[in-house]
Amino acid sequence: MSTYAQKRGFGATLWDYLTTVDHKKIAILYFIAGGFFFVLGGIEAMIIRIQLAIPNNDFVSAGFYNEILTMHGTTMIFLAAMPLLFGFMNAIMPLQIGARDVAFPFVNALGFWLFFFGGTFLNLSWFLGGAPDAGWTSYASLSLASEGHGIDFYVLGLQISGFGTLMGGINFLVTIINMRAPGMTYMRMPLFTWTTFVASSLILFAFPPLTVSIFMLMFDRLFGSNFFVTAAGGNTIIWEHFFWIFGHPEVYILILPAFGIFSEIIPVFARKRLFGYSSMVFATVLIGFLGFMVWAHHMFTVGLGPIANAIFAVATMAIAVPTGIKIFNWLFTAWGGSVSFTTPMHYALAFIPSFLMGGVTGVMLAVAAADYQYHDTYFVVAHFHYVIVGGVVFAVLGGLQFYWPKMFGTMLNETLGKITFWLFFAGFHLTFFIQHFLGLWGMPRRIYTFLPGQGYELSNLVSTIGALLMAVATVVLVINIIITVKKNERIGNDPWGDGRTLEWAIPSPAPFYNFKQLPLVRGLDPYWIEKMEGKKGMTPAEPLGDIHMPNSSIIPFIMSFGLFVSAFGVMYRLDYAWGLPVLIIGLVITFGSMLARSLKDDHGFHIHKEDLIDDDNEKGVKA
């Protein structure tokens, strides 16, 4: 049954992680895989910047550049940013609401492995004849014309990892609705939980259109259908709509959890409750809602006509209002507070002006008639890196520093953390600020080189230098992590001293059953409330009893592996005789393991209360 001994060999640890259904371990898996893909996407970004450092450069070839560019965007969005945020959701959200686990531990593991195999499949394209090269948006006319199997890797890889994301989303939704501790009403949920909730809803409704359109692209490329083949009556604009019906909510899927992380960091280090909690919640929901009605702002130049453009322009602008509410609420949380400048707080504070700049250029882009100028230029590149790096990446880096103790029981070094911060911060602005101007001076995006004499030389060089600073910052972060793991200095429940929410009330790292007794929640910031009343911890809401836990299982891994195998079959079906059999074998593996899962009862196991009592301050349990 359970394998929770303290010291284990590598093989056993590996097996443990391959079969785990524990949300905290799955979180670590998400961090490892997401972190790896972040570095990969970052290296791709460096290649982009080196190529563009000087005019007429030939560091990479034109075709290869397009592959790098596509993989940078795709990797960063689907394989780095989202999984890293999923890591936080898994690691923190259940603790914040006082849950023992997520609603579907098995599905949680399945979600991770699907993402992992999807991402792996996508990246294998580098070694198997070339990566996708039609941009992360993969607009249909170009992606149908693209030769080789690059786009097929894109289609199949994203399909597989997309299923994983969808499952993760549903899982979080149910967890939040059904598994809250006694007293944890909706309006007492920490903001990170709220943003997880809204982001998960966005996933639920945004991924199906992507699924459908990716299916259609796959059918067109591999099975001879004609959705996007204009000669046979098809229409490529369909793809664009689907992509953005998904794609715009997607950017809020990224930014909302980031908002959530900052909403946790700022109150802790300002020692003040979140200003305007209910309007923060309301703004989050409103952003999610409006996020579905603005997608065509990516398509102003497609020729949808002035009516559609005007409607979508105005709708887009509306999003500035709830976002502004959030910005001001954060500022006024710190206002009147007692602000301590830790590394996480550095990121949180730097986020405000940085994201603001990206946000206001977003509103400028929403001016449809002016977007005819901005669209597909470096102005847009500047906009979205400002919101994504200044918002999401800062949140990931700040959140990592902030929650590291809760996840691993040690503290990342603060000095090194601040060095990372300042390098990253400076590099970020240096890289992307100047790009606004490049765009306005007429430099299109997605160009593998630029010709001399157009006034782009100096600015591009500056941009490249900034990017290198970000790389150095990342290296410092990696060093910091290595040092911290080596040193292994253990810390207590509430290492920052001012933790407010439930996760800080339990040991670091949390025991695998999270809460020995479910806590009784008496208000917003429950742990803070207890501390202010002089108590040491939470009041339990239930007597000590047996704890029901799910069994670990290798099936999620096998199920995902089956799809991974069949993807090769689908792709090579027309090229090689072995394609079809492989396709079938893969599906048999997947559906077979699905069947096995549903036929074999899995009732989990119980930790007996006797085993709990005597290990008051230890992590493990004798199983």
């Binding site: 070839s61 034109a62 075709g63 397009n66 941009g135 607009y139 006319s141 170009l142 014309a145 204009t230 229409n235 490529t236 300002a270 003040k272 409750r273 200003f275 305007g276 130049t301 497609v302 020729g303 002035p306 322009a313 209002v321 502004g324 509410i325 910005i327 001001f328 609420n329 500022l331 006024f332 710190a334 206002w335 507070g337 007692s338 602000v339 301590s340 400048f341 405000i352 700049m357 206001v360 250029t361 400028m364 001016v367 449809a368 008639a369 002016a370 005819y372 100028q373 597909d376 230029t377 101007f437 306005l440 001076w441 007429g442 299109p444 593998y448 010709l451 004499g453 157009q454 006034g455």
Partner: protein, 360 residues
Amino acid sequence: MAMKWLSKWRLLSLFTMLAFVLSGCGLPHLSTLQPAGEVAQTQYDLMVLSTAIMVGVIVVVTVIFLIVLFRFRRKDDKIPKQVEGSHKLEIIWTVIPILLLLVLAVPTVKATFDLADVEAMDQKNEEGKTDALVVNVRANLYWWEFEYPNEEIVTSQELVVPTDEKVYFNLKASDVKHSFWIPAVGGKMDTNTDNVNKFWLEFDSAAADEAGELFYGKCAELCGPSHALMDFKVKTLPRDEFDQWVADMQDVKEPAVAQTPKAQQGQEIFNNSCIGCHAVTPANTTPEAARMAPNLTNFGERDYVAGLITMENNEENIKEWLRDPEKYKPANKMTGTYGELSEDELDALAEYLLGLKVQE
């Protein structure tokens, strides 16, 4: 000696470029910040308006931010008052942004409709033609074709337009999606594979003067390896000179006969290897599908080879292009379609091509 001159020239251009960076407006023939026509002007005005609003927002947030940064540093271990929120403040920062956005939204909607007004294209006179000047733009993998349906002529790579009047465009793509953009003159519009898009531009004569009568145009939609190099140029002429140009073009009914023996040799090679794709007559009677390459009728009058600003149109560059187009535009559709050419043949072709002119 030549090297030295070159490096000096480079230094000079670096300085001028620096000057532009400092002035922040970019180059007059390329930058959206130096509007050279009504459309670009409208858009520029919107940019200025929105930037002003945004700077206002940034200033307000920055002031609050700085106060937070300096006034509320932790000094002691006291627990600050736990404030729940403030309705008054909430209302302020909900209502003010709404007002600001309204100020922005109204001109946005107006401009969006104005720029989409192409009614003049539908008003046909008794000949079934429009009184307004119409250009059909067809985007192809890495080259542009400009057809003047009323005038019944075709040209490529360099769009020729009259100044100070509205020019209307029909836009489409023949292979994959591209996007037609002349930054200094107005925003872009996609050339789709599914439909024909319409819009208009206006080229201001004074601004054209400053830009040297030649604007840079670009493809703004990823379309393959040479997307970066899918540039075109726009030549602006006063209306009467434009009419003259049209008349000169229309005069070419048959391929012009080369004058010098060398050029005649070139023409022969051309007729053997190239004419299958490249036309040297401007008539728009060949069906589009058969117009597989840039029309070269007035090639000798173009400023650049294949639209590349690094390839000024001279003998050396033409030969360079013909030797290996792949080197200049990766994955272009001409590479490898016409066999090896000897140096001699290259000379001949270059001379022939340079002689393809319609105006004196």
